[in-house]
């Protein structure tokens, strides 16, 4: 890419042609729908290679600073690439956590050394990142994190465990929230945020078998694992603020992500499309009046979420409860995924009895897996039930349960 910015129209053409010529052939396995679902080395390697290729072509991290490995260009170029990658249905970027959360965080709050050390490797897939936030016994309330990090000279000694550490077995780095001081008055003040290496004695990532029967998320154990205090981002004892910042990136409330797309979400439209090629009672499922009613309800839920996003940008239309839409979108989208999986499966008559791995399974069993996989969303990051408490209290002002 030249130093002068390319013409937008020309650039669009160029990207279109590059993606067309370089996108990978469809894999033999049932494609995961996000990095959270990557369950085998084969899947991982397929996706990693694709991200590397996109980066090498200059199409990832385009708006990140050049000195750290980015493209140093305006965001619009990355947006054009993103759109094309989606439009051509290419695989998502597997280093999702690095590109979307850890990377922007480091660029925003990290030291120059940290930026130099990590940013380029995030883009190139040299270093895969995972997240150490949730703990097995403390639900999803990050403020309760109990993993101990005790200072010993200029090192910290880590003990405890983290769950939902997706890709931990592949990762070289983890964003880690740990308790460096158990005696603070507020529980939030004892936390510190680390950019921790994974390849350290005493850190052991164990893959956990999901309810689908596949692997794809991990529990990571820390037994007297030692990391340098260079790994701290933000201040010692200031981890809560860094974690909140990270969540802003995670939820897309703040920009600066490297680009590419991070998931291939299922949509209600796809279920509608499915209904026109599967049979129920000897006729297309889309012809059953009650099924049609259910499909329309599902389509409306999907459409409403898109429209909510559009409306959220118009202050006059969200002035009364400005956080209502953003605070409920995780709950609504994950519950929608579950409903999508459930309805799409039930459309298939007795063929819904098949599962991923059977040649007779419709769409390779994608819908059955969508259903089960959806629970990662309705449970992880605060269950739907907890989300409703939070929305009821913070948006509607109701008293605490």
């Amino acid at each position: 890419m030249s130093e002068t910015l390319p013409d937008i129209k020309e650039f669009k053409k160029e990207v279109n042609s590059w993606v067309t010529n370089n996108k990978p052939a469809p894999p033999r396995f049932l494609m995961p729908q996000s990095f959270m679902e990557v369950g085998s080395d084969e899947q991982f390697e397929y996706l990693r290679e694709w991200q590397e290729k996109v980066y090498n072509a200059g199409y990832l991290g385009m708006s990140w600073p050049k000195e750290y490995g980015g493209g140093g260009m305006p965001q619009i170029y990355q947006d054009i690439v993103n759109k094309e990658l989606v439009a051509q249905n290419t695989p998502f970027m597997v280093n999702t956590l690095g590109l979307n959360w850890a990377g922007p965080l480091i660029l925003n709050m990290g030291s120059d050394e940290q930026k130099k050390a990590y940013i380029k490797k995030i883009l190139s897939t040299e270093e895969i990142w995972c997240q150490g936030f949730s703990e097995p016994d403390y639900g999803s309330d990050l403020g309760n994190a109990q993993l101990k990090a005790e200072r010993d000279g200029n090192e910290f000694v880590l003990n405890g465990s983290k769950i939902w550490t997706t890709l931990a077995t592949q990762a070289q780095r983890m964003i880690l929230l740990a308790r460096t001081n158990p005696n603070t008055e507020s529980k939030y003040d004892g936390l510190t945020f680390f950019l921790a290496p994974m390849n350290v004695d005493g850190i052991d990532a164990q893959p956990i078998k999901k309810l689908t029967g596949e692997h794809g998320f991990c529990q990571t154990f820390f037994n007297d694992a030692r990391i340098s205090d260079d790994c701290i981002i933000g201040k010692e004892g200031g981890g809560w603020l860094v974690a909140m910042k990270t969540l802003m990136f995670e939820r897309g409330a703040e920009g600066g992500q490297a680009g590419g797309h991070m998931s291939m979400p299922v949509s209600a439209e796809e279920v509608a499309e499915l209904s026109k090629r599967v049979y129920r009672e000897g006729d297309l499922a889309s012809q059953d009046p009650v099924v049609r009613d259910e499909l329309v309800k599902l389509l409306m839920r999907g459409k409403a979420m898109s429209l909510n996003n559009a409306r959220a940008k118009i202050p006059a239309l969200v002035s009364e409860r400005p956080t209502s839409i953003s605070m409920s979108s995780k709950m609504l989208s994950t519950e929608l995924s579950r409903s999508i999986g459930e309805l799409a499966t039930s459309l298939q008559g007795s063929n819904s009895l098949y599962f991923v791995g059977d040649d007779s399974a419709i769409d390779s069993g994608r819908w059955q897996r969508t259903y089960f996989q959806a629970f990662s969303g309705t449970i992880g990051g605060g269950t739907t039930q907890i989300q409703k408490n939070i929305i009821g209290e913070r948006v509607l002002g109701l008293p605490k349960t």
Partner: protein
């Protein structure tokens, strides 16, 4: 999540500066003019609305919002009317604004030049228009018309009976659907041509409304009262969508109003030494109603912007389906969550539930619209 993961197309909501201003004004107007005590006292009144408030609305230009400037209006669109109707619904402010607005659109779409020149400026100036569309069969299909008009020379002789004509008794203009030679037609009836006894008040579920049955038998109107038959079919189709849009806006407002009183109760009422709003069975239900309301409002403001495009029908039907069910549920839960007080007439929850029946069961309920959406989206 980055913007580009949004794969659904056509999700833009347009919202003009005029809409934003009107929304703000209408919110404060509705709060001022329609506190619940006023709503209650108007229930006991003959006409059900305050003529003074109506005049103020006319003076604010609200009746001419969607009427072109050449006919005395401000040349905006029904999208701007939506922003008035929603806050009015929240405060249960009942006026003939919706029927009058819809009548103006019918005249615009199918009226002759002289009809438009004659009637539209009157409407913009504060004339009340009533719509005589419903009939005994209860069918929401606007083309299902049993009332007839027989043309003979310069006169059309009407027969049949219209039901659920709101504000007919005080209307300055009445537009009715009739069947002429088997085809739907619209006719403008001068109320003075109708004998007083032919307009009978009805008892309806929403006590804030005034509704009448009109016996058309024996009424004759000049043939010039018939709107352009070549444009009538399209005008009626658009009318149906506009009616759904405004009812949806009113439902959104009503849902918010039902939430207002319920949240207030949940935050002040205690049982077993706890505020009842702390119980999940109530709290989570209120969250469900909230998220459904957010969806309904998104549909409504989206539909307001695209109603005259090819996306219009889908958008409007989604708005009507979503807002109807949601308002009904919000009203239902408002009664239940007020406990024993909710069972009394004194509790305002019933007012919202009654209004929800009123808006939901006009121009098609949720099942009706979803059936049509299935045709639009799946066939």
């Amino acid at each position: 999540m980055s913007e580009n993961t949004n794969m659904v197309k056509n999700t833009g909501i347009t919202f003009s500066e005029e809409q934003a201003q009107l929304l703000e004004i209408a919110e404060s107007f509705s709060r001022d003019k329609s506190p619940i005590a006023t709503v209650r006292s108007l229930i006991e009144s003959e006409t059900g609305f305050d003529k003074g408030v109506w005049t103020e609305m006319a003076n604010l230009g609200w009746l001419g919002i969607a009427i072109p400037e050449e006919f005395g209006g401000s040349g905006l669109s029904v999208a701007e009317v939506v922003t008035i109707v929603e806050p009015m619904g929240r405060m249960l402010l009942a006026t003939p604004l919706v029927s009058t607005t819809l009548a103006a659109q019918l005249l615009l779409d199918a009226g002759s030049d002289s009809q438009k020149t004659d009637l539209l400026p009157k409407i913009a100036g504060g004339a009340i228009a009533a719509l005589a569309i419903n009939e005994e069969h209860g069918d929401w299909d606007i083309n299902h018309i049993t009332c007839e008009g027989v043309i003979s020379g310069d006169t059309v002789t009407l027969s049949g009976s219209k039901k659920l004509v709101t504000d007919a008794k005080v209307a300055d203009i009445i537009l009715a659907t009739i069947s002429v030679n088997g085809a739907p037609a619209l006719v403008s009836i001068d109320p003075s041509a109708i004998d007083g006894s032919a307009i009978q008040r009805e008892t309806v579920i929403d006590e804030t409304r005034r509704s009448y049955q009109i016996d058309l038998n024996g009424i004759s109107v000049p043939v010039t009262s018939v709107l352009d038959t070549g444009k009538t079919a399209a005008a009626l189709k658009r009318y149906h969508l506009l009616s759904c849009l405004l009812l949806s806006a009113e439902s959104c407002g009503g849902t918010a109003g039902a939430m207002d009183i319920t949240l207030d109760y949940l935050n002040t009422r205690r049982t077993f030494d706890r505020f009842i709003g702390s119980y999940q069975s109530l709290k989570h239900t209120m969250v469900d109603i909230l998220t459904d309301l957010e969806a309904a409002r998104s549909f409504v403001y989206y539909a307001a912007g695209v109603i005259d495009t090819e996306e219009g029908e889908t958008a409007v039907r989604m708005a009507k389906a979503q807002s109807s069910d949601n308002f009904s549920y919000a009203g239902d839960r408002a009664i239940q969550f007020h406990g024993g007080f909710g069972f009394t007439y004194e509790c305002d929850a019933q007012l919202f539930r009654r209004r929800a029946f009123w808006t939901s069961n006009q121009s098609g309920d949720a099942i009706y619209h979803r059936k049509r959406l299935a045709t639009l989206l799946l066939d």
